[in-house]
Amino acid sequence: MSATDGTRTIRVRELARVEGEAALKISVRGGRVQEAQLNIFEPPRFFEALLRGRQFAEAPDITARICGICPVAYQMSAVQAIEQALAVEIPPPIRALRRLLYCGEWIESHGLHVYLLHAPDFLGYQGAIEMARDHRAAVQRGLKLKQTGNRVLTTLGGREIHPVNVRVGGFYKLPSNSALRELVQPLREAREAALETVRWVAGFEFPDCERDYEFVALQADGEYPIDQGRIVSSSGLDLPADRFDEHFVEEQVRHSTALHGRRRDGQSYLVGPLARYSLNHDRLWPLARKAAEDAGLGPVCRNPYRSIIVRGIELVQACDEALAIIEQWERPAQPAVPVAARAATGYGCTEAPRGLLYHRYRLARDGSIEDALIVPPTSQNQPTIERDLEIFANDWLDLADEPLRWRCEQAVRNYDPCISCATHFLRLEVDRG
């Protein structure tokens, strides 16, 4: 309806450049944003329910299918939780190989998001293929980076999507030394490309949007958080993975098939690159830290638009670490340690490219899964994404519908939301009255 009385509805019916299906609706009343809803209509697939009665050994392959973009994250949180339940100790070289696999997924996923999904917003293109007409070299650099991430995944896991090599206790088969060595040159080039990425995106224009987020991420001694750590937050939480449930809950809302994650006190919080970076800046390696400094990023970053720079910095870190792991790796005698079933509950938390991914499994004596709980990063970020829009969109209300719609979409894409994940779980709708 008319904007003269300050009411308006903006809708994005199908949000593009996100993984999965969602819409957005923003209602404006009296010239102010009254409500922003991230409407997730992706049909739910009920993973937790269909895990019941399956054997623990099947969980890594089944949960991988929640998300084609970050299957390794699911495999890693699943094996960590189950190994905790079964009191399995993973030897350091196996853990190193898992971290290497995870670095591959970070490189692939961040490469995809920075270049194909997010950069087109900053440069004003509908998508990366359109952007490639004017910025072919940049898009090619992104594809190359992504490809190197995929190469790490195929070397260690057999294929890029739903790798087949991860098992509870370790791997099915260790990669040959020569296969690992073949990754070195592409990873060196990827590290250079990652540094170039940081320089490129640091030159984009960023709106002045800062928020006082409650950051939540993993933290581990002497390393940047990827595959393990304690859960910490900017307000001082510090807990092991097995106490996640005491502090965080998921609740259902009518406008979404994804559950919303909140702190038990009702506060929303933020997981993902900004949170990881801001809580672990001192744990970045020198190369990544220097890249951050050169890009003008302080030790804490509260502007979600700048998450594209942080992803670039994490690309540098992941390439650097992957190279170090390959260089230092000592081949273990066996690809996996033995595992015996027992009745127990286990908890796992790892850092998916989009943020904290929590799994909990209760196992029966025969090794079957009695109960499973999976909390993906996008569910946890949904309330924060809505809050961002409610706050930021007020400054954009003098825009016409189409540019306003694009701005709002971009604000959502800052989070690289993975809707397939969240509906175990987007369209923008702006209601101006």
Binding site: A49, I66, A128, V139, Q140, R167, Y172, Q252, H424
Partner: protein, 261 residues
Amino acid sequence: MGGRDRRPKLAVWKFASCDGCQLTLLDCEDELLALGDAVRIAHFPEATRGRLRGPYDLSLVEGSITTKKDVARIAQIRRQSRRLVTIGACATAGGIQALRNFAGQPGLAGQVYPEPAYLDALATSTPIAEHVPVDFELRGCPIDKRQLLEVITAFLAGRRPQVPAYSVCVECKLAGQVCVMVAHGTPCLGPVTQAGCGALCPRFDRGCYGCFGPMETPNTASLASPLAACGLDRGAIVRLYRSFNAAAPAFRDESFRNERD
């Protein structure tokens, strides 16, 4: 340009899925930009917010039908598509989410969502071909990159794609891979599963778990005793068939047979 652009229109559609099969297209890093030159990407929300109206020359459909709305949506997409190809186990067999079709899984929604009443979910997850005619089904969970490129190239050239219908077992032989069942007693669905992965799991010292679904006329009955000889009890055999292609008829029937007998 608009009106004069004669390049074929490619559309990518998503139903209940993990996005992995459409991501396979973006994972064609070496070919993506050339593809973007050769076709007009008319609908591919994961990659672009740009959209062109139908009709589309080739529609790739990922995911299974699990809601009433999607029953209507796929019919609409079919009407706008000259050729429609389904990609992946979700679209060709209902996917892992088709486990809900089996007895003994009541109230799935209630186990995940506190208020299942808000959801528009059907009791079953069904393949696209159960709802509309499909020109070609590309198997896999996920699909294979090379096969996807072959399918796109073939359809744009107006020929049938060359995708083998033989088993993973044959792929092992072709690759000179020792049989994991014979050599290590590892249970393997390779003898009854369609090729396409390049014998991936056997190459990683594990048994095939059926990502590509049943091959043409699979002899599942005769695989029962080798699987049992590898130490699988009936329940384990049922679970082996009931994963990403659980509702593909040959796998479904074999799982029922093992449950019954």
